[in-house]
């Protein structure tokens, strides 16, 4: 009798744990995920059976994913993966880990975990998951400058096959590796592969991501052609062909996409190389419209404009552009420099981030960082993704606090993890912002130096012209004839100072060389 009682006493907790797990699984299957999470956590913390605890952790992570508690899910999935392949949920956890990383736009945690844990057990992953794993690892290796290793993971045969959802990005990354290896022909081929893959992906189901890869592939091709054309030179017919291809591809970037401004600017240089000064100036003109000028730094476009005028010996217009450059950026440089030296001693690195957020939103006059510069940094993709991650952490923390079921140990543990994550990320974010601002300062300084050189050269040319008693300043020049309108599907509009949204990107100048050889 005593033995039976003893056995029964021992059996009771075990069966109670099993019942808790079953109950939690039932809640999970009934889509009562909050109850399921609370139940699984109980089992995880107090369950005596190791298998049950393992199952509880796995299902709890999945329930968290269903409740959009992505960071919390990521934490527990990471634990499963760190257990190693012996954990029966190892392979599944990898897939869910990738999903959590996707939702958080995480570029650090998940790729690093995957890279470190990569092993034989990954062969059991479904193809679509394995492709993503290969791509992420290639990404990490690329950042570590292990280019050949990265290429191995991107290989169409052994890494990311054609037709895979990761194929466009994988081919694109291979193209970047080819560029790093200074192999332009391979880069071009790979970017064109990326374009084909992206087009196929868009046909299957268009998303913002597939559009972005498509555009970046187009830009990649354009830039390679530009490099080829530049190296061969505009006097070489092959060089001209390459430059024309570059212009064609730059024009393929759709208007009002995030890459449109870059495409316009870089096309400006292509046209300059092709001696199409009117088109080059037109590209710059688009960038001077408030749509671009208020939201991104384009100091270099002024240099391009000055160069076009210099090439056509229009010294007064060079000087006028110099004045425009000073108006646009003359005050920004010292203001930015002063800001970069103004961080209070007691403030943490997050201060940079906070100041950037203020400067982006408020009025330009009150911004501590020149607003155009602040907006340029804020449009950086890496910054944007990190900011998204931080925002998601904040929202998840709020969500955790609002659920009564989670109050107590579970919320405490998860919020502590989030605080730690934020504690690491925020200073990193602050330093990222600081570094981006410093880079902007370097760029602006560089442009300022270029402008100074142009000014000096212009002065020398003017002196030479004056010696030859030639006119160097014109009050007004004659308006040049109307340009060629290619077909009825195009409309011609003269520009007199008013920017219309649908004309951006289509501007051209008519310019006549005033050089006397």
């Amino acid at each position: 009798m005593k033995k039976l009682c003893f056995i029964l006493t021992l059996a009771l907790p075990l069966s109670a744990n099993a019942q808790d797990l079953d109950r939690a699984i039932e809640d999970f299957n009934n889509q009562s995920y909050q109850e399921a999470i609370a139940g699984f956590y109980e089992v995880l913390k107090y369950g005596e059976n190791r298998g049950d605890r393992n199952d509880a952790r796995y299902y709890m992570a999945r329930a968290m994913l269903n409740e959009n508690l992505n960071f919390s899910a990521l934490s527990f999935l990471r634990e499963i993966i760190l257990d190693g392949p012996r954990n029966r949920h190892y392979v599944s956890a990898i897939g869910y880990l990738l999903e959590a990383g996707n939702r958080l736009r995480d570029d650090f945690n998940v790729p690093n975990i995957i890279n470190r844990e990569y092993g034989d057990a990954f062969r059991d992953l479904k193809d679509v998951v394995l492709d993503r794993v290969n791509y992420l690892i290639a990404q990490v290796l690329y950042r570590q400058d292990k280019l050949d290793d990265a290429l191995g993971f991107l290989d169409p045969e052994a890494g990311v096959p054609p037709g895979s959802s990761e194929a466009p990005a994988a081919r694109y990354l291979s193209g970047l590796i080819a560029i790093r290896n200074n192999d332009l022909e391979s880069a071009l081929a790979r970017f064109q592969d990326a374009l084909k893959e992206a087009s196929k992906a868009r046909k299957a189901g268009r998303t913002e991501y597939s559009d972005r890869v498509y555009r970046q592939s187009v830009l990649g091709i354009a830039r390679v052609y530009y490099e080829m054309g530049s190296r061969l030179g505009p006097d070489n017919p092959e060089g001209v062909k390459a430059l024309q291809n570059a212009a064609l591809h730059f024009r393929m970037v759709p208007r009002f996409t995030s890459d449109w401004g870059d495409a316009i600017f870089e096309r400006g240089w292509v046209h300059f190389q092709l001696s199409e000064y009117g088109k080059s100036l037109g590209a710059v003109h688009s960038l001077s419209a408030p749509f671009f000028a208020e939201n991104a730094q384009h100091a270099e476009s002024y240099v391009l404009k000055m160069t076009n005028y210099f090439y056509n010996c229009q010294w007064d217009r060079v000087r006028r552009t110099l004045g425009e450059f000073q108006s646009a950026y003359g005050a920004s440089i010292p203001k930015l420099k002063a800001f970069l030296a103004s961080k209070p001693q007691e403030a943490g690195d997050i201060w940079w981030y906070e100041q950037l957020l203020e400067s982006v939103k408020g009025s330009a006059e009150d911004a501590v960082i020149p607003q155009v510069i602040a907006r340029t940094v804020a449009s950086n993709n890496r910054y944007d993704r990190l900011r998204f991650f931080l925002d998601m952490l904040g929202r998840e923390a709020d969500a955790l606090r609002s659920v009564d079921l989670f109050k107590g140990e579970l919320a405490g543990e998860l919020l502590t993890a989030m605080d730690e994550a934020r504690g690491a990320l925020e200073p990193f974010m602050g330093r990222l912002v600081r570094d981006k601002l410093r880079r902007q300062l370097v760029i602006l300084d560089g442009m300022g130096s270029q402008a100074d050189i142009i000014e000096i050269q212009t002065g020398l040319e003017e002196a030479e012209w004056l010696d030859q008693q030639r006119e160097i300043e014109f009050a007004k020049r004659k308006r040049l004839p109307r340009p060629f309108v290619p077909s009825e599907k195009f409309q011609y509009w003269p520009f007199h100072g008013e920017y219309w949204i649908d004309e951006l990107g289509f501007y051209e100048y008519a310019i006549k060389s005033e050089c006397v050889e």
Partner: protein, 315 residues
């Protein structure tokens, strides 16, 4: 400096030489390479709070030291001929060659329209037309129209009859009923507008000329005898089918690739002839010219100015 010399100068100054990237180029590479923060083999934020900070300070410090003092460069400026501010665009020949908002070439268009006269004097018309167009070019099209107009006499006509026992000449009484015609349209004027500061729209202004046929008719007007009221019959007496020429202009505006609206002013010119004596002046109660003792037909060219408006469906 000749053109060749300028090219060499530009190449050297502007960093077009590929061997030595300019500071901006190098910075773009750094923008990539500073992802070296991530080279730390850590679990990232999920497991290791210090990971993202590693390796960051040193590399940035070097870059900061390398930054040239910008204020000196900015302070150098020529004081000759610099125009600060926005360039006067009237000094430059700047233009936009932009894509049209909507394309119509080689497409069909169907436009049901409500129509009404706007130059009503003795008569007024209202009704509907259905127009089918084929655009054989962006600016040129051919249109087939068919429709029905319901005509009546204006208050002016009734007032003259009731209060003054007067009627206008018979031809001024003529009304149109059905109409069918063909015309050519040309749209040489294009434009765009901003609506209420928010929406952008494109339009074309077109003009058209054409010919058609219409059934003319008349409702008998009887003057009152002494002390008696005048009368307008409800019965529509048909006259001949008339050739109608039309000339007009309009505006077409498209909301989407397939839907828009059109508004037109169109003048229909038709020569009316209302019989005189044969039926005892019943159709033409006014005094008209007599020729060899016979009351002549009342003849007039009527210009019916219609405003036409309707939705447009493009296929």
């Amino acid at each position: 400096m000749n053109r060749f010399q300028r090219m060499i100068w530009a190449s050297a100054v502007l960093g077009l030489a590929l061997v030595i990237p300019s500071p901006a180029q190098a910075d773009e590479l750094d923008d990539l390479l500073d992802l070296g923060d991530d080279t730390e083999q850590t679990d990232g934020a999920a497991g290791d709070a210090s990971a993202p900070a590693a390796g960051d300070e040193g590399s940035d410090g070097a870059k900061v030291d390398a930054v040239a003092d910008p204020s000196a460069a900015a302070a150098k400026s020529s004081d000759r001929g610099q125009t600060k501010g926005v360039i006067n665009p009237r000094d430059e020949t700047i233009f936009a060659i932009q894509k049209k908002g909507r394309y119509l070439g080689k497409r069909f268009e169907l436009v049901p329209m409500a129509v009404a006269t706007i130059n009503n004097k003795f008569t007024s018309h209202a009704g509907g037309l259905v127009n089918g167009l084929y655009h054989f070019a962006e600016t040129m099209s051919v249109e087939f129209s068919a429709g029905y107009l319901s005509g009546d006499y204006t208050p002016l006509t009734r007032e003259l009859l009731d209060l003054q026992n007067l009627t206008p000449p018979g031809a001024d009484y003529a009304l149109l009923s059905w109409y069918t015609g063909l015309d050519m349209q040309w749209a040489p004027i294009y434009g765009k507008f901003r609506l209420a500061g928010r929406a952008l729209g494109h339009f074309d202004i077109y003009m058209g000329v054409g010919l058609g046929l219409s059934q003319a008719g008349i409702r008998q007007v009887t003057k009152g005898a002494a002390g008696a009221e005048g009368d307008i019959s409800d019965e529509f007496s048909q006259l001949a089918v008339k050739v109608v020429s039309n000339l007009g202009a309009g505006l077409r505006f498209y909301f989407t690739e397939r839907f828009g609206v059109r508004a037109e002013f169109r003048n229909y010119a038709v020569a009316h002839s209302v019989p005189g004596a044969d039926v005892g002046n019943e159709l033409n109660p006014t005094k008209e010219l007599k020729w060899q003792g016979t009351l002549q037909n009342s003849v007039d060219v009527a210009n019916i100015f219609l405003f036409q408006f309707g939705p447009s469906f493009v296929f």
